[in-house]
């Protein structure tokens, strides 16, 4: 599902003394079936873009198109719900988005409301749990008492249960330990490769994005600075630094090896490949 922003503006608290413009005439295309990363400093408009795609807020001016849906104030009721079933969103702190007392209730919340057959609900729960790597023993547990990584998985499962075509993840690696982060990265890769989902990740974690993303969008002060394939975006070091985005550690190492020691290492996304290349060259 392709997502298109055409000269989109968004202002919070419009027509009040607290009005704050967060998006300025942004135009871009987020391609389908790819992992797209949105990076930028705090307050640059990443979360606003994400909420626009899900129809949680509507553009002050301009058009946002998600597949066949056009997001504007007139989109309401059934049409809006159809959009929400096609675009799943996992917020930054899963704990703050839970509102049920068992994992099962949390996962089936939307399906139950739309009166799905019990058998279909069970099938979907099992599939969602399988996709995120949780087992059935979690179903009766309280989501508020799970670990950070497990909470994140339950949040993703509660989205996957209605099989969306687009999955948006807001700061998915915040507060996760090394192993949970690694498993989450594997899950995102699997969702794209095996289930052909369009994935959008808003994050400050450029190392993670360099590892998994196909495209990168850099946003600062409500303007799109650059967007394109990750190799192209991360080759513009000066531009990125000027807009508060650092380079991934692997790339910094490769650049330093080339500039300081004249060693040409291959631009690889995985640390293991980099180590092999270092051994080959040194």
């Amino acid at each position: 599902m392709e997502i298109k922003f055409e000269q989109v503006n968004y202002t919070y608290n419009l027509r009040t003394p607290l009005a704050k413009k967060v998006l300025n005439d942004i135009s871009l295309i987020i391609p389908a079936n790819k992992i797209n990363g949105i990076v930028g400093p705090v307050g640059s408009g990443k979360t606003t873009m994400m909420e626009l795609i899900n129809g949680l807020i509507f553009p002050t001016r301009g058009i946002v198109t998600v597949g066949n849906y056009t997001i504007k104030k007139a989109i309401k009721g059934k049409q809006l719900n159809k959009l929400r079933f096609d675009v799943g969103i996992v917020f930054q702190f899963p704990e703050e988005q839970f509102f049920n007392i068992t994992v099962k209730e949390e996962i089936i919340f939307a399906l139950q409301h739309y009166q799905y057959h019990l058998k279909e609900i069970d099938d979907r729960i099992n599939k969602a749990l399988q996709m995120v790597g949780l087992n059935e023993t979690f179903l009766d547990r309280n989501p508020f008492n799970l670990s950070g990584g497990e909470k994140r998985k339950v949040a993703i499962a509660s989205i996957l249960v209605f099989n969306p075509k687009v999955i948006i993840l807001d700061e998915p690696t915040v507060g996760l330990d090394y192993n949970s982060k690694k498993k989450l990265i594997q899950l995102i890769k699997k969702l794209r490769k095996n289930y052909h989902k369009t994935i959008i990740i808003c994050t400050h974690d450029v190392d993670m994005l360099y590892q998994i993303a196909d495209n990168i969008i850099v946003i600062n002060k409500g303007n799109i600075i650059i967007d394109g394939p990750k190799e192209e975006v991360f080759s513009k070091e000066e531009l990125l630094k000027a807009n508060g985005v650092g380079l991934p550690k692997i790339l910094t190492f490769v650049n330093k090896a080339r500039n300081n020691k004249g060693i040409n290492l291959v631009n690889c996304t995985d640390i293991k490949d980099l180590i092999k290349d270092v051994y080959r060259n040194v």
Binding site: K76, L80, F85, Q97, F99, A110, H113
Partner: protein, 253 residues
Amino acid sequence: MFSYTFGRYYPVNSEFHKMNPFVKLICTFIFLVLVFSTNDQVVLMIFMITTVLTMLLTNVPLYYYLKVIYNLKILILFIVGINYYLGVPFDTIVIMVTKVILGVLYSMVFLFTTKLNDITYALNLLLKPLVIIRVPVKKIVFSISLALNFISTIFLQAEKILKSQASRGIDYRYSNIGGKITALSAMLTPMFVLTLRRADAIADAMEVRLYDYNTKRTSYIARTYHFFDLFMILIHLAIFVMAFWKEWLLSVI
């Protein structure tokens, strides 16, 4: 998602914003007592004019006041319905609804023009005389100020949960009554859990910063009285006197 009109401070420049919060609270208190104690249509008309003038002087767009009244539509319909069912005459129902609307509007004038800290200060001064009869005013005001500070936390939390529900196809804004009830009832448990956790975190944060409840505290901001404060209190006292001399007022009109 939530509207701006939940009685939040509206930061513009007006004489009402500059008023001493204690005087403003006294004026609001006098006005509310008068509005709810009179049934006279002429006096209510005078109150209505006073309220509209006050609203205009606050420089807060009238749209925000109207939105508050619009949000009260269910309450108003309930008052009308129950009184109609009990056989209360129509003009009495109109007076009743007018009194509720005027009360809410005047309270909004106070809330739109007064910051949270100023409300606490005003309450502290208002309740201070009760110290004589050994009422723990300090404790009460401290609890009220913490509770008031919590309102924004609770609304933020509620907004996050409603957004989470909306992203999963149950949008409170556009749902029917069933959807609205589902959304709100599902919100209660996490609100309770998360608010208690937040309260615990705040208590710990205050403790590690050596907050001692029994220590005497000073006020960081010195609040003064101006001519407009005197003017407003005189106007309200005048209305107070006039309302109590209703017959005299009616004979004059």
